[in-house]
């Protein structure tokens, strides 16, 4: 029936509007729980949310060793060519050639923090850090080399 549907429509609409108003009315009357971070003022006590992603970093251990094998999985996974893996060949003590990274170049200005590179990495060499104050005067400063100078691959990572 057309009329019944029409009346149902009207009452359904009014009810759903009332539900929305009730929710925001609750927020309005419970003003004590505030989600605003007053950022520059609370820089010392600022706590980032767990899932916040600020930039890609490569952790190194105390012997200046990282876990990156130079497999370029992260480079392939990146949707907008943020990561560039430049590889070289190390000579192992046995005299064999072994693939390793020369530089892992990361363009912060292109990165959308999508986390795909971290997911793609088979050896968990890269992680997302929570730093966020990235502003600089020259965009070339945003192009970073993730592996530290003279670092080498950790033992037992293939």
């Amino acid at each position: 029936m057309f009329i019944t549907n029409y009346i149902k429509d009207v009452f359904g609409a009014l009810k759903s509007l009332a539900v929305g108003l009730k929710r925001t009315g609750y927020y309005f009357t419970h003003h004590k729980e505030i989600i605003t971070e007053q950022y520059p003022d609370n820089r010392d006590t600022l706590v980032m949310a767990d899932r916040f992603k600020g930039e890609v970093v490569m952790p190194h251990n105390e012997n200046n060793e990282h876990k990156c094998t130079g497999c370029t999985a992260c480079e392939l996974a990146c949707p907008n060519a943020t990561i560039k893996v430049i590889t070289k060949f190390d000579i192992t003590p046995e005299g064999k050639k072994k693939k390793a990274i020369d530089k892992l170049v990361y363009h912060l200005e292109l990165c959308t923090m999508c986390n795909l590179c971290v997911v793609a990495c088979p050896s968990d060499a890269i992680v997302m850090a929570q730093t966020f104050e990235h502003s600089v005067y020259d965009r070339s400063e945003l192009t970073k080399v993730l592996n530290k100078p003279d670092s080498k691959i950790m033992e037992g990572i293939e």
Binding site: G20, Y27, E33
Partner: protein, 358 residues
């Protein structure tokens, strides 16, 4: 007791004693004009800060809190910023219409102030066709919007203006019909008489369900007519180009912005007058002692209290509901609000004839 009415009386008496009646009238007009402009300025500042506070509270934020005590001077600082900004006119624009449009918007708002009863016996012009005047003048505001959109020489502005025009013209109908509901019950177009007719209870209580329906339709329709969210298609549909005032900057933009807020105040004042009794204190039938206690609260406080309550309602809508698309908007008006309000006015007419209201 201290009241607007007495002050106005004293000023009137003094002017008539000092000057001849013509000059006294001229001076009174000037004083009224200055008062209205002052009221506009204060309302603009107060409503903007109120809007931002309500928005912040609803969204569990802090809102403005830097300028002045608790951020209360923020809108004043914004005004100063807008004053010193450059007022640009685009090269291909129709300069005359472009610069005229914001003043039309403000002028309409100013004209609408005339019949509003701010307190007991305190009105700029007690005309006997107040309601008709309000609904006639308020439809002129669409001219300012169309003028601004057309003169900007910008496709977004033109489309924004056309959307806004379609919207205002459509919603004028159900706003008018819901206003008629109270006119039918009162039997008068005079806003002051409408207020006086509510001395034994406001219409929203006296008129049962039909008047409550009329009130709901009125709120929806005036929200649309003042171009406020969820009906702010004048500003944007899905793109955020600010619709018909895309090309406006500085003080000309501020005038449009101010006119929007003043219009909100005016429609809320009209709504408060028609449905919530205007300056009439909260009276219940013949409970003389209770009514007498209520009379101790000044009438202007009742008026502004009700008006700001309605303004809060409209702000609450803005920060709760998602924006409508243009086809949904026209659908809502022509398929739902108009038939319901037509049926409702029949019901109210029958109620008025049979005397079913209190």
């Amino acid at each position: 007791m201290w009241s607007f009415n007495k002050i106005a009386g004293i000023v009137d008496q003094w002017l008539n004693q000092t000057f001849n009646p013509t000059w006294a009238l001229v001076f009174e007009m000037v004083i009224v004009g200055v008062c209205v402009i002052g009221l506009f300025a204060v309302l603009g500042l107060v409503l903007v800060i109120m809007e931002r506070r309500v928005a912040a509270w609803i969204q569990i934020r802090l809102g403005p809190n830097r300028v002045g005590p608790k951020g209360m001077l923020q809108s004043l600082a914004d005004t100063v910023k807008l004053l010193v900004k450059e007022g640009m006119t685009p090269a291909g624009a129709d300069k005359f219409l472009f610069n005229l449009a914001p003043y039309i918007a403000m002028m309409v708002a100013m004209l609408l102030m005339a019949p509003i009863a701010f307190a007991k016996d305190f009105q700029i012009w007690n005309m006997n066709i107040g309601v008709l005047y309000v609904s006639a003048i308020s439809s002129v505001s669409v001219i300012g919007i169309l003028m601004a959109g057309w003169a900007s020489n910008n496709k977004y502005s033109l489309m924004g203006a056309m959307r806004s025009g379609a919207q205002i013209v459509s919603y004028e109908l159900s706003a008018g019909l819901s206003i008629l509901a109270v006119v039918v019950l009162t039997g008068s177009l005079n806003l002051n008489e409408i207020v006086l007719s509510q001395a034994d209870g406001w219409w929203i209580f006296k008129g049962h369900i039909p008047v409550i329906i009329a009130f709901i339709i009125f709120i929806i329709a005036v929200t649309a007519e003042t171009n406020r969210a969820p009906f702010d298609l004048a500003e944007a549909e899905s793109e955020l180009t600010a619709g018909f005032h895309t090309e406006y900057s500085g003080m000309k933009f501020a005038l449009f912005f101010l006119a929007e807020y003043i219009n909100v105040f005016i429609v809320c004042a009209i709504g408060a007058t028609l449905f919530l009794g205007g300056w009439m204190p909260f009276h219940i039938g013949h409970w003389e002692s209770f009514n007498h206690i209520m009379d101790y609260v000044p009438s202007s406080i009742w008026f502004f209290g009700k008006t700001f309550f309605m303004i809060f309602l409209i702000m609450w809508f803005r920060w709760t509901f998602p924006r409508l698309r243009i086809d949904q908007l026209l659908n809502l008006e022509w398929k739902y609000l108009l038939p319901i309000s037509m049926f409702n006015i029949l019901l109210i007419t029958a109620m008025a004839i049979l005397g079913w209201h209190f």
